[in-house]
């Protein structure tokens, strides 16, 4: 915005309206309705809005109708009184704000407000009439569950906040609004529980959001990259979710939720490594299967990161570690394969990554057909042509499948990328290389933080109570306290004692 727009409104209706129209570049979707009373002459008031941003029905019924009815009487009043009456009495809209500066007026218009200007008064009224097209609440596409709510966030901020509000009807739920992006002016809401969230974390979050000064914020991904703790890492230090129930669960643990307008993916912080292996379904299904699945996911993560490198290391450096029949069978398969194992593996991994990327880009209709051709035909043909060994195909496909087990896509990506580094280490230094790589990885992981919380909490530093909800998930009645370090220590207890269901009936007084 230019310095020109910093000035205040003049109170001269025609001049102000002209300024607004000029500043908005005479947009074709800008509607300026000048209202003149019964007597011909200067207009008494003007109504300005963007027809693409507002719900025109509302504008008509709640602003234009009453305003036109009262227009004659308004013309006789002092401009100040008229302005006040329009504000207090006439506009049938919940949110009406006074604006005195030109840029405020512009912002309001761009936000979908309808601005009412009264002749002779250096001020304007901005009535919230935001509307326009938006997608309905649908099922989540990337974070699906078999049991649990089927709602997902949409691109509309209002809808998203309401999805959260409806789940947490607490007066202590705090929703703070932010505007991000110099040009996009994207709305964002930071949501947390006043009593549960750590004040330090909330303050830090606020500060980091405040520092954002970029042209555009089109997705929460932009925000994530601008506020995350560490950039030079493939591990995510913020979590994203498109599930309102998961978001609410996190808020109730003391995390801070950031919803950005225009994207169904909300951000959560602070997070720990382990939270990327937890699916919201874990809390809806029985605890035993949840525990089993969490351990399974963890194994899958290790497999997807280390299996190809281990295969390379063991078959090319430490053949003595294989059982004899397996070794003979592998050796028979490798007979005649032209490439060294490391190259063979890299080749197949890259082939798979190409197939995967192609699957995302391909039109829905032909996608499945092509992936079958790619996966089955290519693999089969490669083995038969003697280019790769059958065992390698098994390793690569199992690695790929394991990668899909990890609930959080951004953590899966970390494993996917690091796999290549591990393969090179395994192919050059064998197990020693893999161990070295693993050690570097561990050092890196313990050095990470997310909004002041150690990434490897509760394993390092050990926080005993939090271990109840990590690899294992104990029944709800056992998790008496909120996760320490993440939630406010003064409000630690979340479940009352004696929640364990039992057939013994207490005597009623």
């Amino acid at each position: 915005m230019t310095a020109e727009t910093e000035r205040a409104l003049t109170g001269h209706l025609a001049e102000d309206v002209e300024a607004v129209v000029r500043e908005l570049g005479d947009s074709c979707d800008l509607v300026v309705r000048e209202l003149t009373g019964k007597e011909e002459g200067e207009p008494e008031a003007a109504v300005v809005y963007m027809k693409t941003m507002v719900d025109e029905e509302t504008v008509m019924r709640s602003i234009l109708d009453p305003l036109m009815d009262e227009l004659d009487r308004l013309g006789m009043e002092e401009p100040g009184d008229a302005f006040r009456r329009v504000h207090k009495d006439i506009l049938r809209i919940g949110t009406v704000n006074e604006r005195t500066k030109l840029n405020e007026v512009l912002c309001s218009i761009l936000d979908g407000d309808t601005v009412v200007l009264i002749a002779g008064k250096a001020g304007a009224l901005a009535a919230s009439t935001i509307g326009g097209e938006s997608r309905a609440v649908e099922e989540p596409t990337s974070q699906t569950v078999t049991r649990g709510p089927k709602e997902s966030f949409t691109e509309n901020l209002q809808t998203n906040v309401s999805l959260v509000r409806r789940r947490i009807r607490s007066p202590l739920l705090r929703v703070e609004a932010f505007k991000l992006g110099r040009h996009t002016q994207t709305n964002a809401c930071m949501i947390y529980m006043q009593n549960i969230a750590q004040p330090k974390v909330v303050q830090e979050f606020r500060q980091r959001l405040g520092k954002i000064d970029v042209d555009s914020i089109l997705d929460s991904g932009y925000v994530e990259e601008l506020i995350q703790d560490a950039t030079w890492t493939s591990f995510p230090t913020l979590q994203n979710t498109e599930r309102p129930d998961a978001a609410c669960g996190a808020v109730m643990e003391g995390k801070v939720l950031l919803i950005v307008d225009g994207t169904p993916f909300a951000l959560l912080a602070p997070v720990t490594f382990i939270s990327f292996f937890q699916s919201s379904e874990d809390y809806y299904q029985r605890y035993d299967i949840s525990t089993f699945l969490r351990i399974l996911r963890f194994c899958a993560f290790f497999i997807s990161m280390f299996l190809p490198s281990l295969y390379i290391a063991i078959t090319t450096f430490h053949q003595e570690m294989l059982p004899t029949p397996l070794l003979i069978s592998l050796a028979a398969q490798r007979e005649g394969v032209p490439f060294p194992a490391i190259l063979e593996a890299l080749l197949m991994e890259i082939t798979f990554e190409v197939l995967r990327e192609a699957g995302v880009r391909m039109p829905r209709v032909i996608g499945p057909a092509i992936s079958i051709v790619g996966a089955l035909v290519l693999g089969q043909a490669a083995v038969q042509a003697g280019l790769v060994s059958a065992a390698m195909i098994i390793v690569v496909s199992f690695t790929a499948i394991s990668n899909f087990v990890i609930p959080a896509l951004n953590m899966a990506i970390a494993a996917r990328l690091l796999r290549f580094g591990m393969m090179i280490l395994g192919g050059t230094l064998g197990l020693f290389g893999i161990m070295s790589g693993m050690m570097i990885l561990l050092i890196h992981l313990v050095s990470l933080r997310s909004f002041g919380i150690s990434y490897m909490t509760p394993f390092s530093p050990i926080v005993w109570p939090n271990l109840k909800d990590t690899l294992v998930r104990v029944p709800w009645w056992l998790m008496k306290k909120r996760p320490a370090l993440i939630s406010n220590p003064r409000q630690a207890v979340r479940n009352a004692s004696g929640q364990r269901p039992s057939p013994r009936r207490k005597k009623r007084p």
Binding site: A332, E335, I342, V383, A390, G427, L429, G430
Partner: protein, 407 residues
């Protein structure tokens, strides 16, 4: 500093991409399933039985090319040299692939080599990381190399076949113990420095070395476990037959399970029944006597009747008791037989020396030098406590049911 670390990381990566010093692809190694050592003309002769993977695991990268019996599963060749490792080193002159010993399951040594001593062999095993100390060692009376050349019918890889046979034997019959290099070494490092090893031999006429010979239901010769070799201070001392070997196994407390025929009555040694010893535990207690120690051997064993021709009702307590006495006597006889044959060799392979060493270290120091002679004179008092736990699925002997005999 950050830059420095990143530069170091890049250098390391670059180095890694170029140098893979120890990389050995699977098609660069020859998996050796069995190896043999002979001592001939003052030189070590080392033989290798190398697995040909494509012949064993049909398919593989070549897809349609099938292995099977038309191809031989193994190839055998030998190299010689003044030291064992030098002989193995010579293999690079004829082998296109690197010999790989980690999966060697059996190691066959000739008696000639054993007469020279096993120290070199043990040193090679303990010094080199690719040789595993769990390899089973067997003795061959003739050339060890000939054992490797023999093909087997059921188990495709002969080395593996020998190993499986030995495992099964030492578990089911217990006469010839499966002895790894490690166990051999531990025995030799014991107070008496003696050990025992099982023998492997060719039984039959013409050796089976061609694939064609396998295309028949019977083959002219087979590999067979035979006797027990006794090593005295690391050198070959003599053989024990299977019966004596079982007696020694009882004394060594190495009987896991065995099958034992026994006479029904002391009066009628021809009428035999068979017992399967399921569990046996031997404890030896040295008892001080005037001029030495008497060994009190106590065996507690349990078993199941496999076969009986005694014409008895097995539910009668006195019948069972009589049988138990007979079995105990049989075991005692075996042990005495075994002991007297090793006493004849003056080779204490049953660990009496260790017992005395542990019990009375001072006396042991005096006795250590002339232990073989003392051992030959050591008395034993055996006591066997046998329990028949089960009688199989029938309560009576079939003779009595069929009315042939009555007790």
């Amino acid at each position: 500093m950050r830059k420095g670390i990143r530069a170091a990381a890049m250098l390391l990566t670059a180095a890694m991409l170029t140098g893979c010093w120890d990389r050995t692809e699977l098609d660069d190694i020859s998996i050796t399933s069995a190896a043999a050592v002979d001592w001939k003309d003052n030189q070590w002769l080392v033989s290798y039985q190398v697995v040909i993977p494509s012949a064993i695991s049909g398919g593989g990268a070549m897809g349609s090319v099938q292995g099977g019996s038309s191809k031989l599963p193994v190839a055998v060749y030998s190299t010689h040299g003044p030291t064992i490792r030098e002989a193995i080193g010579q293999s690079v002159f004829e082998s296109p692939r690197k010999l790989f010993f980690s999966h060697t399951q059996v190691f066959i040594v000739s008696t000639d080599m054993l007469r020279k001593g096993v120290e070199e062999l043990i040193d090679v095993f303990f010094r080199n990381p690719d040789a595993r100390e769990t390899v089973s060692v067997l003795v061959s009376d003739g050339d060890a190399r000939d054992i490797l050349k023999e093909l087997m019918q059921i188990q495709f890889i002969p080395g593996d076949g020998i190993y499986e046979t030995l495992q099964r034997e030492s578990r089911m019959e217990s006469a010839l113990p499966d002895t790894s290099i490690f166990k051999l070494t531990m025995q030799l490092a014991g107070s008496a420095h003696n050990a025992v090893l099982p023998e492997i031999a060719l039984s039959g006429s013409e050796p089976v070395t061609k694939a064609d010979q396998l295309k028949s239901t019977t083959v002219p010769s087979k590999l067979r476990l035979r006797r027990l070799a006794v090593l005295k201070e690391g050198r070959f001392a003599g053989w024990l037959g299977q019966e004596e070997a079982l007696g020694v196994a009882f004394l060594r407390d190495e009987v896991h399970q065995t099958v034992l025929p026994f006479p029904c009555r002391a009066t009628d040694p021809k009428l035999k029944s068979t017992i399967q010893v399921d569990r046996s535990r031997t404890t030896v207690k040295p008892v001080r006597t005037a001029d030495g120690y008497r060994m009190e051997v106590r065996v507690r064993a349990k078993g199941t009747i496999l076969e009986t021709n005694c014409g008895v009702d097995l539910l009668k307590a006195d019948v069972i008791h009589r049988m138990e006495v007979q079995i105990s006597k049989e075991i005692t006889d075996r042990m005495e037989q075994g002991l007297s044959s090793i006493q004849a060799l003056q080779a204490d392979v049953v660990g009496f020396a260790d017992l005395i060493h542990r019990r009375d270290p001072k006396r042991w120091q005096q006795w250590e030098k002339d232990w073989p002679a003392r051992f030959a004179k050591t008395e034993m008092k055996a006591e066997v406590d046998f329990t028949i736990r089960r009688e199989g699925l029938s309560n009576k002997s079939m003779d009595s049911v069929l009315g042939l005999k009555t007790d």
